[in-house]
């Protein structure tokens, strides 16, 4: 019989909309302003911490909505953002520096809904406030570092093989190794080639040129980026921010988003600082005065300490900051600020090897920091100032192992900052902030309110019009429109990575306007068929059948643009593309399948003379 859907089809429509509604439901409950408290290295969160905090907060007359301890973290929910802010100061003071207290928005989803994976849509920074950074990694520095590493490796390798070279250095284009005779060069080339299949070798006039191939270069850069991302993640964790985002963007950029953070200066200091340590031996018996006048002995390099005094150090680096696994600030027996350092196994071995026969000699700790100058190199990469400073020289008392300490820092604050930076890891290549935005929390709320207001007025106008113009069929279209919004919200909440932004809201609003198009096409077609004298049932059938290809073609082309937007776009453009894509899919479903199920259920298979359209 014409216009009768099999039962399963109608049930499927009901089922899909019900699932969409279920997962859209958490958005109705919204989110509670909350404090998230986690322990630092030297502390622990226990049930007693929880009760202590609860009584401290409540003694100040603030109401706690709910407090819980889960996975070593305390979550305290409040009824208002005001209470949350007041409580944050209170809790930070109560707990001290050993704990991280972060502002958070905790979903107020009921337990049964959370149990089936329900959670509200994630809001973008423009809707909840916070800081957004786009950072660029200095790739030329990453490559330079790798070259220095290769020089060290080659030196050791060639020595191990008893192949004597005249000189080795990292030049403007790759590494140059000079030899005294052709025979050694050939031997060395064969040996190094075998060991380094990814490098390109080329010899000329007793000099061996080693360059990195494109694949190798890409590998080095990829590694640098990933290393930096890991380190930035660690640093963000040190900041104690709830739900931070640290993501790769393109081949040399990293996005960092810190919701709820307003103090950008501190965030920048921690994120942007590129610090590392190097340990070197102090050159013995050298003429410092001559060195300052420009006659630096070969194999040595001139540095300055924090007071500007010259120090002459060995060019060879014993160890770099990459091997540091832990660092704590504290005080020495003589109450001097100090930093205790732990090394990984390789670092420990290297240090032990070096210091074995150097007891009584002086070792220096060099602090290296890259600071962005704000300028750019001709190739467009950011320019950095490399700032090196000897922070400490000490006589080696005993063979050093995996843990030791450095002293000679001026203030406890300096020791603390150094420990934090070392703990967070040394960036393999310096980074610079190329884009930054701070959005106040009030602005976020304003954006949400504006978007909702626009959506509601558009929706009401559309509903009124459709209901008046198409009568009963109009109501069906309105139902489809509402189902469409519910489905969109449900899908946005279900997809883990999807974030709602202001342009995303605009996308939803736009879909509200365009979603009726499918139904309008069908209804107009039905009217036409009725005019052409077809029976009611036939007109409905024809209307849907003929409009289908139009709807499909029109939507597929829009989907194409949305896909391209998603692929090329960043930030707001991407947010818009996501909602547009979801909107197209849901509006096609509700217009073609959804309304058909209702129409068939109401009028299908009946003998009708007239249709309310």
């Amino acid at each position: 019989m014409l216009n009768k859907y099999p039962l399963w089809k109608s049930l499927m429509v009901v089922f899909i909309i019900a699932i969409g509604a279920l997962y859209a439901l958490p958005n109705v409950f919204g989110e509670d302003p909350a404090l998230q408290i986690s322990a630092g290295r030297n502390a622990e969160v226990t049930p007693s911490t929880l009760t202590r905090l609860q009584s401290a907060v409540e003694s100040q007359g603030l109401t706690i909505k709910r407090a819980e301890l889960e996975n070593g973290q305390i979550l305290i929910r409040f009824n208002s953002g005001d209470d949350q802010l007041k409580a944050k100061d209170l809790v930070s003071k109560e707990l001290g520096d050993d704990y991280f207290v972060a502002l958070n928005l905790a979903p107020a989803t009921p337990d049964w809904l959370a149990a089936i994976g329900g959670s509200p849509m994630k809001l973008g920074l423009d809707l909840r406030g916070g800081v957004h950074f786009l950072m660029e990694v200095d790739m030329s520095e990453a490559v330079r570092k790798q070259e220095t590493q290769l020089v060290t490796d080659f030196r050791a390798d060639l020595r191990g093989e008893q192949l004597r070279y005249a000189g080795i250095r990292a030049g403007a284009k790759g590494i140059e190794i000079r030899f005294r005779d052709e025979e050694t060069l050939v031997k060395a080339e064969d040996f190094l080639k075998l060991r380094n299949p990814n490098l390109l070798f080329d010899d000329k006039d007793l000099t061996l040129h080693v360059t990195m191939g494109d694949a190798y270069l890409a590998e080095v850069q990829k590694y640098a980026l990933q290393q930096n991302i890991t380190i930035l993640r660690n640093r963000v964790n040190e900041l104690g921010v709830a739900e931070p985002v640290v993501q790769q963007q393109g081949s040399n950029r990293i996005v960092v988003e810190l919701p709820g953070v307003q103090d950008t200066a501190r965030a920048k200091e921690i994120l942007g600082a590129t610090a590392t340590l190097e340990f070197r031996m102090v050159t013995e018996g050298a003429d410092l005065g001559a060195a300052v006048r420009g006659r630096v002995p070969p194999g040595s390099q001139l540095f300055e300490d924090s007071n500007g005094r010259p120090v002459l150090l060995d060019k060879r680096v014993i160890l770099t900051g990459d091997h540091i696994t832990g660092a704590q600030s504290g005080f020495s027996e003589t109450s001097q600020p100090q930093v205790s350092i732990n090394l990984d196994a390789t670092g420990g071995n290297k240090m032990a090897d070096w210091t074995r026969d150097k007891i009584g000699k002086a070792m220096a700790t060099v602090f290296i920091e890259y600071k962005s100058t704000g300028e750019r190199n001709p190739d467009g990469s950011p320019k950095f100032d490399k700032h090196e400073e000897v922070i400490n020289t000490a006589t080696i008392q005993a063979r050093l192992g995996r843990s030791f300490r450095i002293t000679g820092l001026d203030t406890p604050q300096e020791a603390q900052k150094l420990a934090l930076l070392l703990r967070a890891g040394a960036l393999i290549a310096p980074i610079t902030i190329v884009q930054e935005s701070t959005i106040g929390p009030s602005m976020g709320q304003e954006n949400i309110d504006n978007g909702m207001a626009a959506m509601l007025s558009g929706l009401v106008a559309t509903i009124l019009f459709m209901a008046v113009y198409y009568r009963k069929f109009g109501f069906i279209a309105v139902g489809a429109l509402v189902a469409n919004i519910v489905l969109m919200v449900g899908i946005m909440s279900m997809i883990p990575g999807a974030t709602l932004t202001m342009p995303g809201i605009a996308g939803i609003v736009l879909t509200v306007g365009m979603a009726v198009d499918g139904n309008v096409l069908i209804f107009e077609r039905i009217r036409e068929e009725l005019k052409a004298g077809r029976s009611v049932q036939q007109a409905i059938h024809e209307g849907y059948a003929n409009a289908f290809s139009t709807i499909a073609d029109a939507n597929i082309t829009t989907l194409l643009t949305a896909l391209i937007l998603f692929a090329v776009g960043t930030g707001p453009v991407k947010g818009f593309a996501v909602t547009l894509m979801i909107g197209i899919a849901t509006s096609m479903f509700t217009a073609i399948v959804g309304t058909r199920a209702v129409v068939n259920g109401l009028w299908g298979g009946k003998r009708l003379k007239k249709l309310s359209i």
Partner: protein
């Protein structure tokens, strides 16, 4: 059953097509001229630089704030009202420098006018990033147009595809032209809107084309002009209603969406207007001028005719 627009007879839409398409061409030429001479008022997203948005409790004059900022030693700033008289933005070009220090100078300048001024938003974009965004945006529009050209050529016919793309290019250029002429700020959300316009305008064109294809197969007689006129007439009701409901919503966005979304709504408003018009006078007319005839629209496989027939039976 009542209708907004009762079109019982076929309206000769194409009667004045020649004149109207001339106007269209003039509009495009004017847009290009404006783009060439006045250029586009690129927003921060594309130029790079710093923007600080400040909210006061009372209305403030832009010149007041500009003087205060300059007194702090930050040169070359543009101060504008943003949405309301109490809401101001300070735009600093990338040349003037960056960093916490400059932002804090602007902040203290802002507070010197009123101590409880609220800094609502601080944005900084490096010049390099902006340049890449502009390139990416242009690339996105171009890719979209090529993909659409391919899809429509595959689903319909190359003459119609060219017509559709001509309409798209028309809509994009004229929208950009208006932005250029009135020197409205063009930021990333406006770019998103322009791409949405591409989607919307195409939506409209495809609906008309679909009918054109159907009518070519159904109507045994009549010139291509007549077929197009009939098709446009038949889809007119739908076009008005869909454009109407979309406009409801976009106008709501324009009025209530707030300052952040104002440019977006403006571009959509323009694009939807031009998009509706161009689906008739640019897309269809261009296809006819390209020599579209009935033969081009006939299905290639004969069996398909039978398959079409079957669905007519109950």
């Amino acid at each position: 059953m009542f209708e907004l627009l009762k079109l019982n007879k076929t309206v000769d839409f194409l009667k004045h097509a020649r004149v109207i398409s001339m106007i269209s061409l003039l509009l495009m030429a004017a847009s290009v001229a404006s783009l060439a001479t006045r250029g586009i008022n690129w927003g921060l997203d594309f130029t790079g630089g710093t923007v600080v948005e400040i909210v006061y409790s009372e209305a403030k004059d832009t010149s007041e704030l500009r003087k205060a900022v300059e007194a702090q030693g930050v040169e070359g700033v543009i101060v504008q009202h943003f949405g309301a008289a109490t809401d101001l933005i300070v735009r600093v070009p990338p040349k003037a420098g960056k960093g916490n220090e400059m932002v804090s100078r602007i902040e203290s300048a802002a507070r010197s006018l009123e101590s409880d001024a609220v800094i609502k938003r601080v944005e900084f974009v490096g010049p390099q990033v902006g340049k890449e965004l502009a390139e990416q945006g242009g690339l996105a529009v171009l890719t979209a147009i090529i993909c659409i050209l391919a899809y429509v050529a595959f689903r319909f016919e190359w003459r119609l595809a060219l017509g559709a793309v001509a309409a798209l290019v028309h809509d994009v250029i004229v929208t950009l032209g208006v932005f250029s002429f009135f020197f409205l700020e063009f930021d990333l959300t406006v770019l998103a809107a322009v791409l949405a316009v591409v989607g919307y305008s195409l939506n409209d064109t495809i609906v008309v084309f679909d009918r054109v294809r159907e009518n070519f197969r159904k109507m045994r007689k009549g010139t291509p002009e007549h077929v197009v006129n009939t098709s446009v007439t038949q889809t007119m009701s739908r076009t008005i209603i869909t454009t109407g409901t979309t406009l409801f919503v976009v106008i709501a966005l324009f009025v209530q969406g707030g300052s952040m979304i104002h440019g977006f709504a403006t571009a959509l408003l323009l694009g939807i207007g031009f998009g509706t018009f161009s689906s008739i006078y640019v897309a269809s007319y261009a296809s006819i001028k390209l020599g579209l005839t009935r033969e081009h629209m006939m299905p290639v496989v004969v069996e398909k005719e039978g398959a079409d027939q079957e669905s007519l039976l109950p």
